[in-house]
């Protein structure tokens, strides 16, 4: 018979009972999560640390003579006007899109949270754009934005107005990309909000109606608190997703004019695949990772604090 005295602070050892069963950790249980862990380590943790290591190298795409340069790539990045511009563009883009995703996504969900055929059709239409590829989306919006004979220009000409040069104006290029992006993927936040709205018990609204609560009061006191966690998910998901803006900018404006719509990921792509400067591209990737982590964590803690209050 084996026995063990457990004391605080000591590692829990497996304890064998007289029946043969044991309590405490059984390392063979780890096999259940092993498949996930293998992929997690190979596809996420390893690339993360490899990226950090690469960011400290002067490394060329096709040259195997990488040289350790410490933080030189980071120093160079923070003195690079183009990179600083991309940070500003990306943050601005996130600020332009994420609140709109939450507001319009929620409004659409509220409007279409019914079981009639029209609502079902509209839900499918709004979500339908999300399945399009970025190439199709940018072709559609190029045809909308073209100042000569684009759809918007044609409408403006009908009213005797001068067409607006959306994608060739340094002040309008980024908002134009933001509009394209919102049109493209507004369906996902809408669906997430719809799922959350359908989880709210109907009795709460019945009780509120009995208390003569206004629609606004019901929304503010029942709907919003009930979907707060979904809202947090939508906000964090969209922050992370929109910081990774690339395809729309690359295809609609190529980052121009005058660097006004170049996001960080496009900068990384250009440094890696066009200038073949992998170390520099990796350093920019790490900066993007940090910014995304800080933004998502800040939102997470702020929302959790509000929930606890």
């Amino acid at each position: 018979m084996t026995d063990a005295t457990l004391s605080p602070g000591k590692a829990v050892a497996a304890v064998k009972r007289p029946t043969g069963a044991s309590i405490g950790p059984r390392w063979t249980n780890a096999l259940f999560i092993a498949p996930y862990m293998v992929f997690y380590l190979a596809l996420l943790v390893y690339p993360l640390f490899k990226g950090i290591w690469m960011s400290m190298l002067e490394s060329d795409m096709f040259d195997d003579t990488s040289k350790f340069t410490g933080l030189a790539n980071y120093y160079r990045l923070f003195n690079d006007k183009i990179f600083i511009g991309t940070i500003w563009n990306t943050v601005l883009f996130v600020l332009m899109t994420v609140p709109v995703f939450v507001a319009i996504g929620l409004l659409l969900a509220l409007a279409l949270n019914r079981s009639d055929r029209t609502s079902a059709s509209l839900r499918a239409i709004f979500f339908g754009t999300s399945v399009l590829s970025v190439t199709i989306v940018t072709i559609i919006w190029k045809m909308m934005y073209m100042p000569g004979n684009g759809a918007i220009a044609s409408i403006m000409k009908l009213f005797g107005l001068e067409p607006i040069a959306f994608i060739t104006s340094s002040s309008l290029a980024l908002p134009a990309i933001a509009i394209t992006t919102i049109w493209w993927i507004i369906g996902l936040p809408m669906m997430l909000f719809l799922a959350a709205l359908q989880q709210i018990p109907g009795e709460l609204y019945e009780a509120a109606a009995l208390d003569n609560a206004s629609r606004w009061r019901s929304f503010w006191s029942i709907t919003l608190p009930s979907i707060r966690r979904t809202m947090l998910v939508v906000v964090i998901y969209e922050i992370v997703a929109q910081f990774q803006l690339f395809g729309q900018a690359q295809l609609l404006t190529q980052g121009g004019p005058n660097n006004a719509s170049r996001p960080i990921v496009q900068f990384i792509y250009e440094q890696g695949f066009r200038s073949w400067n992998l170390g520099y591209a990796a350093a920019a990737s790490e900066i993007l990772f940090l910014i995304m982590a800080v933004a998502a964590l800040a939102q997470f803690f702020a929302s959790r604090k509000r929930v606890e209050e």
Partner: protein
């Protein structure tokens, strides 16, 4: 009757089987190219003389090769211009095409890293006479003393002119030739006159979504002033008053509304054909397309001319130039694949005249001197380009990235997003930073 039907069917089966076996015996090689996709118009055309334009001619050439070759099948892989990001990714992932089209300005970046096969011996064995290559094309494909590509053309920057609008503007002389500016004052005077008489801008320019117009025009204006901005191949110098003057000229053209302002490449190409402006500054490759257009009813009907970039500065008639070529990517090729690749290159070499019909300059001296080439439309008007076309020095690394940066900054100043001084300083800083970190 029944026996006859059976015999016919058996014959068909045997023939189909033999054809399939023959096709299976052919070696397939992948060829990555840009120049666009036009399968709908030229997918089955094997008579190259019936094809027009870059896309039509290259498609028909490949069709013809596939129809005639008993040993090789070329599988074209069409990429978006210029396609180097994709090529780089494919090389890095170990799956490059066998052959790829490549600008001569880019070859040294790939050849210096051992990514391309030298071709001198293969060309000698295949009977390709490298002494027949024009000086420009041979220099363009020769790096460190070895030939790394089959040159395909030399292309330059020039003016496509709508003569119908020029007549309306009173800018045609007694001989029926366009009256062109000889200095910057004349340029503005003629452009204003054109705008006043026709109500249309003098220039059609590709100012949106690509940087080629800005770089190539700006380089040409510098060449015209004899500015050697890459005297040191590791450092660009845009701090000369000539550079400032050239950029200010472009900015003035924009602010005085003498050009279309928001057109991308496709829009500007069709805008010129639709008669929306007098001069389209673009490349040699559109000559054949617009010449065909001038034979139809429309704004260009019997009214298309082309001319070398007019010399508006008194220094030199030199003009930006580059060349398309075909490279063999280094990889584990079988002898049959390599032989097939060289067979295809030899075919392109033999058919270089057909490609020159696009408007590009041929890469063979024998074709340039031939009556057949000289008889093509407008070739007398652009004969000087063969001598005056100027590429960046081959020792300059990362030429495509440099041209992108230069184009972005020139565009910023031309469109008024930045001052001329600031744009020139930024272009210089960014390019020199790139070169300082380029291996």
């Amino acid at each position: 009757m029944r026996k006859l039907t059976t015999a016919l069917l058996a014959g068909l089966v045997v023939t189909a089987g033999a054809s399939a076996a023959l096709a299976a015996d052919k070696t397939e090689i992948s060829v990555a190219r840009f120049f666009g996709a036009c399968e709908a118009d030229y997918g089955s055309v094997t008579d190259v003389t019936k094809a027009n334009g870059e896309c039509g001619i290259i498609t028909a050439l490949i069709n013809k090769f596939n129809a005639e070759s008993t040993t090789t099948t070329v599988k074209p892989e069409i990429v978006e211009w210029p396609g180097y990001d994709q090529l780089t990714a494919r090389i890095r992932s170990g799956e490059p095409p066998v052959i790829s089209v490549m600008h001569e300005a880019v070859i040294s970046d790939y050849s210096s890293r051992g990514l391309l096969e030298p071709l001198d011996e293969d060309f000698a064995k295949a009977g390709i006479d490298v002494n027949d290559m024009t000086d420009a094309s041979r220099q363009g494909v020769t790096k460190d003393g070895k030939i790394y590509a089959m040159p395909f053309d030399t292309h330059t920057w020039l003016w496509h002119i709508n003569m119908n609008l020029f007549k309306e503007a009173g800018l045609v002389d007694e001989a029926g030739k366009p009256i062109l500016p000889k200095n910057t004052d004349e340029l503005f005077a003629q452009a204003e006159q054109f705008k006043e008489k026709t109500g249309k801008p003098y220039f059609i320019s590709t100012l949106a979504n690509e940087t080629a117009f800005y770089t190539r025009t700006f380089d040409t204006l510098l060449y015209q002033q004899n500015v050697d901005f890459f005297a040191d191949p590791n450092k660009v110098n845009f701090s000369s008053p000539e550079a400032k003057g050239a950029l200010q000229l472009l900015a003035d053209i924009f602010t005085k509304d003498l050009t279309t302002k928001n057109q991308d490449y496709a829009a500007s190409v069709s805008s010129f054909a639709a008669g929306e402006g007098g001069v389209f500054i673009c490349g040699t490759w559109l000559i054949d397309t617009y010449d065909q257009e001038s034979k139809k009813d429309g704004p260009l009907a019997n009214g298309y001319a082309v001319t070398a970039f007019p010399q508006i500065y008194p220094g030199s008639p030199r003009v930006w130039a580059d060349g398309h070529s075909w490279v063999l990517l280094k990889q584990d090729l079988s002898d049959a694949q390599r032989a097939s690749a060289i067979e295809f290159m030899k075919f392109l070499w033999d058919n270089n005249y057909e490609w020159a019909r696009t408007g590009h300059l041929p890469v063979r001296k024998s074709i340039i001197d031939s009556a057949e080439f000289k008889g093509l439309p407008h070739r007398d008007d652009i004969a000087s380009l063969a001598v005056n076309g100027t590429a960046l020095p081959s020792a300059v690394k990362r030429q495509f990235s440099i041209q992108e940066i230069e184009g972005e900054e020139v565009g910023s100043a031309m469109r008024g997003d930045k001052s001329v001084d600031e744009a020139l300083t930024d272009a210089e800083t960014r390019i020199n930073e790139l070169l300082a970190n380029a291996k």
